[in-house]
């Protein structure tokens, strides 16, 4: 077990059921004991101390909590941690390597695709899911792919540019390989 989630389960164990789950997070298997009602977003943030995944609403609307679940973007505030047992989750913390940013991260910075940064991790992961399917999206395709993620600061125009910037770089990289 690489981590025990303590924060949430401090109530007397007698009446709180606990499930042991193993989730592959950013390539690493993490085994944790969780209450069945614990949301995946809260496990990531509070249990595993990966606070890059944000929660901006409680109604599955804002997308700040977006992570990739077996490669597909999902809203981690609307999935129970136990549902992720045996699955792979990618968060913003898994985007960059020690030495290199992911092109999407670079694109967001280069095109001023963020201001307060609160929506940014979710946006980047939604964008990653898009680009993994379609490395040459149109502006409309980008806008549609990001329409489950709200941003209150940027007006989206630069976010769209950021994703297109990343797509171009990723195409170039793919071409080189």
């Amino acid at each position: 077990m690489s981590s025990l989630y303590e924060e949430v389960s401090t109530a007397p164990a007698s009446d709180v059921p606990v499930r042991r789950v193993t989730i592959n997070i950013n390539g690493e298997n993490r085994t944790v004991d969780v209450e069945p009602r614990l949301l995946l977003a809260h496990l990531l943030r509070q249990g595993l101390k990966m606070t890059g995944t944000h929660t901006g609403c409680d109604t599955t609307n804002c997308g700040a909590c977006t992570v990739l679940f077996d490669g597909r973007p999902i809203k981690s505030c609307t999935m129970l941690a136990v549902q992720a047992d045996g699955h792979a989750v990618q968060t913003v913390e898994g985007l960059a390597t020690a030495s290199e940013l992911h092109p999407i991260q670079e694109g967001f910075k280069a095109e001023h695709g963020l201001q307060c940064g609160f929506c940014t991790p979710g946006m980047m992961l939604a964008a990653k899911a898009l680009l993994e399917e379609n490395l040459n999206p149109t502006e409309d395709e980008v806008r549609w792919a990001l329409s489950g993620n709200l941003c209150r600061c940027t007006g989206y125009q630069n976010i769209v540019k950021a994703v297109l910037w990343a797509a171009e770089k990723m195409r170039a990289q793919a071409g080189q390989e």
Binding site: V8, T10, A11, P12, D15, E35, L38, R45, Q46, K49, M50, T51, G52, T53, H54, T55, G56, C57, D58, T59, N61, C62, A64, T91, V92, E93, L95, L101, Q105, F108, K109, A110, H112, L114, Q115, C116, G117, F118, C119, T120, P121, M124, V142, R143, W144, L146, S147, G148, N149, L150, C151, R152, C153, T154, G155, Y156, Q157, N158, I159, V160
Partner: protein, 792 residues
């Protein structure tokens, strides 16, 4: 030789943002990311009803939930004199209700527990018995004779009125109307909305009994104001309070006020002697924290046949909710709404403002807005279009005729504002050309023949940004200056702290650019810190687009103080007298021999190692900047739309924005601010509003009812710039953060109404939802007020 300013990231460089390095890695540090040892979690129980007497509160079952550490009610707060707190507008607000609840979502009790889930479980076990009272949801009900008194807690309060306020010369204005050829009238409602930053409010209070010190990490745009308020409320001495505002996930005015949750978490920490975290969920945030707008405006304009405006009258009726807790400068009851029409040369004006209590969440906060100017400017530009139509005049020409001309500055408005600079006609020209005005009018005519409805809407305005000066602007008596402290290290690297607080505006990037511009220290060598009252100099925070006008000016001024000292050191190092020294970016040199010089970094080293006799070592200073006036940016926004008469759906064909915010420190960031602001303008015009049913239930308590535009709906924007430097700002900059939100909505609404011109429809109140537009087209009648609550 002098440095290349763009290369060192100085003024005018579109320098990429340094804060992004942590945000793109998910390494931001927002309040909810902070974990302190032993931290407890707090959840607030809120009132499900809008107006009711509290008959009893039974918390016994909540205490029985394992893991609960404390349950707080109004009674317990009252025992410590904390049941009520002062607001930033000289009113009071309940922290936890004792007598009545006055709006849905009001704070009734709080549970502090080992984790947030337990706190929530326990909240659901609290039983409150309410005796329902008649509910007031708008000013009309509020002012009706026999209306129930909402604020029966206030001594001497006989009615639901908050204030009466008046400005201008009534008699002179009456005379202007007597001379008018045409009188144009308009009435409208600016609906209630919520700033709704993506991150909600929250705090972590950490009281240390051993030292007597209280530390509060919190989501605040104005940490020093909050410290003053906490000192007042909690009766703790200021030096024993440290307020830290870490990264903020947006603010937009919503994070200026003091919220009950902050106060409760503080008391909870004092009582439990543990850190206590409170993070509001979005639904609570939308129903209980400060809303914006909700003003009914009506007015008329006295016009001469040739298009000249002779005068105007305005009347506002504003809905303040249950507690008057707007953060407004104390002299002005309806904020700076009376800056409306400031870009037009109008000799006479009179305005009356009335405010009312209702059973709705408190607020009237400046949502991306310099104290209510948004409502004023919206009314202005809707009125201007109506007046041009009434005169049968071209709407662009009508504006041009009435603009304050470039050489008429400084210009005093009838309500006493002093505008000082601008090129209004030029901005309009740039906008008209960009939208291809003449051609569009032709296209529009032709489209009409094919049954298509095209429209063009213009909005031009100047607005007062950057409160103060301190003679006129204060909050709770605290004058509205701002500050900067610069400490240059031995190596010539530096740390800068200001009294402002960034929430996404990129201060960490731009402030360093101002220092680079003034001192030639590369921006990358300067770290910017804000938001910690223990380290930052006293300032009034960031809202009302005041950072660049006030704190930004302080940054320039403190850099100049540093340069003045460095000059003395340079003279000492170069062994010449100070008068023989010249400055170029990054270095001092001897006038007679430009080769002989010392860099600012060499001066910094000498400040710690080789100062002239009698000089104090070190190279640091502080500036408190009290601006002589507000700054007056100008904007011209033009939208073209197509309205589908069969559905009422309207699409933006093109949107051009021409902004003159003076000198731009970082053009990339300025444009980011404009695009963000335009999106909020589009939101207001198209979809974003909060309404209430008769029982006072808030409709708009989540993002399914309260619609924010996504990337899919948001139109594209074309940006243009004109630069008229601010004459009194040290680097010629003006505020910009909110211009687009303030001026933008009228461009969209004017465009839709222009498309509907032949139908007899004069006004549709925002938001212009398709069904409202459709109904207006079909009936040929105006659509007024908030959209009705649909029950299905």
């Amino acid at each position: 030789m002098a440095l290349d300013e763009v290369k060192i990231g100085g003024m005018g460089a579109s320098r990429l943002r340094v804060e992004d390095n942590r945000f793109i890695r998910g390494k931001g540090n927002y309040v909810d990311d902070i974990v302190l040892p032993g931290m407890l979690h707090m959840e607030i129980l809120r009132s499900p009803v809008a107006h009711a007497r509290i008959k009893s509160i039974d918390v016994s079952k909540a205490w029985e939930v394992p893991g609960v550490r404390l349950v707080l009610t109004g009674e317990m707060m009252a025992a410590r004199n904390l049941a009520w707190m002062p607001t930033l507008s000289y009113d009071t607000q309940a922290v936890l209700a004792t007598d009545k609840v006055r709006f849905q979502g009001q704070e009734v009790a709080a549970v502090i527990a080992d984790d947030p889930y337990i706190a929530r479980d326990a909240c659901s076990k609290i039983v409150v018995e309410y005796e329902q009272l008649p509910v007031i949801v708008n000013p009309t009900q509020s002012m009706a004779p026999g209306a129930p008194l909402i604020r029966d807690d206030k001594e001497g309060q006989q009615t639901n009125k908050v204030f009466d306020w008046e400005i201008g010369d009534k008699e002179a204005t009456d005379r202007a109307f007597e001379q008018a050829d045409v009188v144009s009238k308009l009435e409208l409602h600016y609906p209630r909305s919520h700033p709704s930053p993506m991150e909600t409010e929250g705090s972590i209070a950490d009281y240390d009994r051993a030292t007597g010190k209280l530390t509060v990490f919190m989501t605040t745009q104005a940490p020093h104001i909050i410290r003053a308020a906490v000192a007042l409320v909690a009766e703790l001495p200021e030096h024993m309070i440290r307020v830290v505002s870490p990264d903020l996930g947006g603010g937009f005015g919503n994070k200026v006020p003091v919220y009950p949750g902050y106060v409760i978490s503080i008391l909870a920490s004092i009582l439990t002697e543990r850190p206590v975290k409170w993070i509001s969920d979005k639904s609570s945030n939308l129903i209980s924290t400060h809303f914006a707008r909700d003003v009914y405006l009506k007015g008329e304009m006295a016009l001469r046949k040739d298009g000249k405006i002779l005068g105007f009258r305005m009347h506002t009726t504003s809905d303040h909710g249950a507690f008057f807790s707007d953060a407004q400068p104390s002299k002005f009851k309806i904020g700076l709404l009376h800056s409306a029409f400031a870009c037009y040369d109008i000799p006479n004006a009179h305005m009356v403002a009335e405010g009312f209590y209702t059973n709705k969440a408190p607020g009237g906060v400046a949502y991306r807005c310099s104290f209510r100017v948004t409502e004023g400017m919206f009314f202005q530009e809707r009125m201007v279009q109506a007046a041009a139509d009434d005169l049968g005049m071209d709407q662009a020409e009508f504006r041009r005729v009435n603009f304050v001309k470039d050489d008429d500055f400084p210009h005093r408005t009838p309500f006493g504002f002093l505008t000082d600079s601008g090129q209004y006609g030029k901005c309009l020209d740039v906008g008209l050309e960009a939208i291809d005005y003449k051609n569009f009018l032709k296209e529009k005519e032709e489209a009409a023949k094919r049954g298509k409805l095209l429209g063009i809407g213009i909005s031009t305005m100047t607005e007062p940004l950057g409160a103060g000066n301190s003679r006129e602007y204060d909050i709770l008596g605290i004058k509205m200056f701002d500050s900067a402290e610069l400490r240059v290290h031995m190596s010539g690297k530096a740390i800068l702290r200001t009294g402002a607080k960034t929430q996404g505006q990129g201060h960490e990037t731009t402030w360093a650019q101002i220092v680079a511009h003034e001192l030639g220290i590369p921006a990358d060598d300067i770290v910017v810190e804000e938001g910690d009252t223990d380290t930052a100099p006293f300032g009034m925070g960031t809202y009302a687009s005041r950072s660049t006008p006030v704190a930004g000016a302080a940054v320039a001024m403190v850099s100049r103080k540093i340069r003045a000292k460095a000059r003395k050191i340079a003279a000492h190092l170069l062994e010449v007298s100070e008068e023989d020294i010249e400055w170029e970016l990054g270095r001092f040199y001897v006038r007679s021999n430009q080769e002989r010089g010392v860099s600012i970094q060499e001066c910094a080293m000498a400040a710690y190692s080789n100062v002239p006799d009698g000089m104090e070592p070190g190279l640091e200073n502080t500036s408190y900047y009290d601006p002589p006036n507000l700054t007056w940016p100008f904007a011209c926004y033009i939208a073209t739309v197509e309205v589908d008469p069969e559905t009422g759906v309207w699409d933006v064909l093109k949107f051009v924005a021409v902004d003159d915010c003076g000198v731009r420190i970082n053009p990339m960031i300025v444009e980011g601010q404009i695009m963000g602001g335009l999106t909020e303008a589009y939101a207001a015009a198209a979809m974003q509003f909060i309404t209430f049913d008769e029982a006072g239930n808030c409709i708009g308590s989540n993002y399914m009812d309260y619609l924010l535009p996504t990337a899919w709906e948001t139109p594209g924007f074309e940006l243009y710039e004109v630069v008229t430097p601010c004459p009194h700002h040290p680097i010629g900059a003006k505020g910009i953060g909110e211009c687009a939100t303030v001026g933008g909505p009228a461009a969209f609404v004017n465009a839709v109404l222009d498309a509907l011109k032949g139908t007899g429809v004069r006004n549709i109140d925002m938001p212009l939802l398709p069904d409202r537009v459709y109904e207006a087209i079909k009936t040929g009648k105006d659509i007024s007020g908030a959209p009705p609550v649909k029950v299905d």
